[in-house]
């Protein structure tokens, strides 16, 4: 019951955000310099054609009316047509989303496997060489431009050593081995930054947990240090880290843009870059909207997880 109440309140909070988001995304196309009808007409500047386009897309209507029409269509899953390959934007996005989600999940798994143990290590042995090295890794992971890391990894492991394919994507159903090999480098590139963020938060949450009274009690009971750190401190320290992880998952899409470009993975990011290059504005607009919706969904999941794993909120 308490959970349903919490969920209802949380969902109600997203409504104004979603509404504002729709205004922002709609406003994007009005940033285009000049008349959008002229931009759409392109090379062919025949006034009749421009007038026809203006009427067909409703550019001759008052702005609030245009927004209303756009919102109604968007709510029905119509985000317009791609100019480049005359497919509906939603169809195009759905086709690419799966590939990007595979990359995102692989990166997240890698980030969790690297980031959390390093954070625990750094907190359990402060001042040690291992702690310093872990902090250095985290700082580097946050600071390195990922697209450059991608280029360097391709240079080292694909061009010189020939261990991994340098680019492209193989569907799992076609060849699971090639699918996995193709994901290793891009997932590593995307995962290192998040691993850095997770490591830093795990460390500070662990340091806080290790300084608390129940840890002193656990130690006073004579429990082994390993058990104190892994069982008592980590369980409590993980609560904020899990929330952060879900939010970082939403941000993964941002990083995926350039990573997919470097590795020629035909996902979400590649679609955005192509949309930008070919001035396919409806696709760019749709991508902004969908990436924001995914982020809102991820932070909703984060809040629900926080509620579920935090006993203080449940009782």
């Amino acid at each position: 019951m308490r959970f349903l109440l919490f969920l209802g309140q949380r969902l109600a909070l997203t409504v104004p955000t979603l509404l504002m988001l729709s205004v922002l995304v709609f406003a994007l196309q009005h940033l285009l310099p000049g008349d959008p009808a002229l931009a759409l007409a392109g090379e062919d500047m025949d006034p009749d054609v421009v007038a026809e386009i203006r009427h067909r897309y409703g550019f001759d209507l008052p702005i609030w009316h245009q927004y209303w029409n756009w919102l109604l269509a968007a709510l029905q899953g119509d985000l317009g047509m791609s100019l480049r390959n005359s497919m509906s934007v939603v169809q195009l996005l759905l086709g690419k989303l799966g590939i990007t989600l595979q990359l995102a999940v692989a990166s997240m798994v890698l980030a969790l496997v690297i980031g959390i143990p390093l954070g625990v290590l750094a907190a359990a042995r402060p001042g040690s060489f291992a702690s310093l090295a872990a902090s250095g890794f985290a700082l580097s992971g946050i600071s390195v431009p990922h697209f450059w890391l991608g280029i360097m990894l391709v240079l080292a492991f694909s061009v010189n050593l020939n261990w991994f394919p340098s680019s492209g994507y193989t569907p799992f159903a076609e060849d699971p081995g090639r699918w996995a090999m193709g994901l290793v480098l891009p997932a590593f590139v995307l995962g290192t930054g998040i691993a850095g963020v997770l490591m830093r938060h795990t460390r500070s949450a662990m340091l806080q947990a290790l300084g608390s009274d129940y840890i002193r009690t656990a130690r006073a009971k004579g429990l082994r240090e390993q058990r104190v750190v892994l069982k008592h401190a980590l369980r409590n320290a993980l609560v904020p880290v899990v929330t952060l992880g879900a939010i970082e998952f939403g941000q993964l899409l941002s990083g995926a843009v350039l990573t997919e470009q470097i590795f020629s993975i035909p996902g979400f990011g590649k679609l955005l870059v192509d949309g930008v290059l070919y001035r396919d504005y409806a696709v760019v607009q749709g991508l902004v909207l969908v990436s924001a919706l995914l982020f809102i969904a991820a932070s909703l999941v984060a809040d629900i997880l926080y509620f579920v794993i935090n006993p203080r909120l449940r009782s």
């Binding site: 104004p16 955000t17 979603l18 509404l19 504002m20 988001l21 205004v23 922002l24 994007l28 196309q29 940033l31 285009l32 310099p33 700082l139 580097s140 946050i142 600071s143 390195v144 431009p145 697209f147 450059w148 890391l149 280029i151 360097m152 391709v154 240079l155 061009v159 939403g250 941000q251 899409l253 941002s254 990083g255 843009v257 350039l258 470009q261 470097i262 955005l272 870059v273 949309g275 930008v276 290059l277 001035r279 504005y281 760019v284 607009q285 991508l287 902004v288 990436s291 924001a292 919706l293 982020f295 809102i296 932070s299």
Partner: protein
Amino acid sequence: MASAALAGTLQPAADGRLRRVLRRLRRQPASLVAGGIILAFIIIALAAPWVAPQDPLASSFLQVRKPPSAAHWLGTDEVGRDVFSRLIWGARTSMLAGLIPVLVALSISLPLGLLSGYGGGWIDMVLMRVVDAMLAIPFLIIAIALAAFLGPDIWNAMLAIGIAALPIFVRLARAAAMSVRAEDYVEATRSIGSSPLRIAVRHILPNMLPPLLVQTSVMAASAIIAEASLSFLGLGQQPPAPSWGSMLNAAQRHMAAAPWMAIAPGCAIFLLVISLNLFGDGLRDALDPKRG
């Protein structure tokens, strides 16, 4: 006059605080080294015309994609330009990319944050919903989309990055305004009859800056990476003008034959960004009264 003097004595002495922060910063060798590296990059960027050994735009078809040598310390690029000279000139773009978006974000977010955090009411509510919506769009995606809609140009890219950084700054500025508003000396100034506008501009605004300062350093780091990313995609610096991102764009096409083209600009971005992040960490610790 008397009220101003009284308010002045009630306000925490800015000089003393600055000295304390500097003293704490001095105790962190890593942050000092980082600060030194950032300073060096600034000097190199300013002195580019005198430091660069060659013209960054001079191409030579006899010198296409030559590996590092005595004549070209970091090799040459796909049209025979000196990579080292381009790297030095490119520092200008990156330093500007670290500065301008942050200035854009600060100059918009300070008044908005003040209005929202100090004023409150329905403006605060509407503004926060806009900020929530903007925060939902991933940073680089909104920067790319804005740059695409504004048109490919380095100044548009910087504006786009500044707008993308805006929601975080407005949030921070608002929180800062709210916490300063609750301070005793603001209450005291109000009690001696200062006008709300005077309190806001004279007392709250200057004290909002310290928490925003840390974010400035971290955001400069993100902005530099974002500019490099946009230039890499062809949305930022336009050829033939050099920028680290556009150099990487060209390098990607010649990766196997001329890896030096990619190594130098990437290392430069990495070094500058890691220094800014380290300096930001140090600054945060130095400003945090709970530490040191």
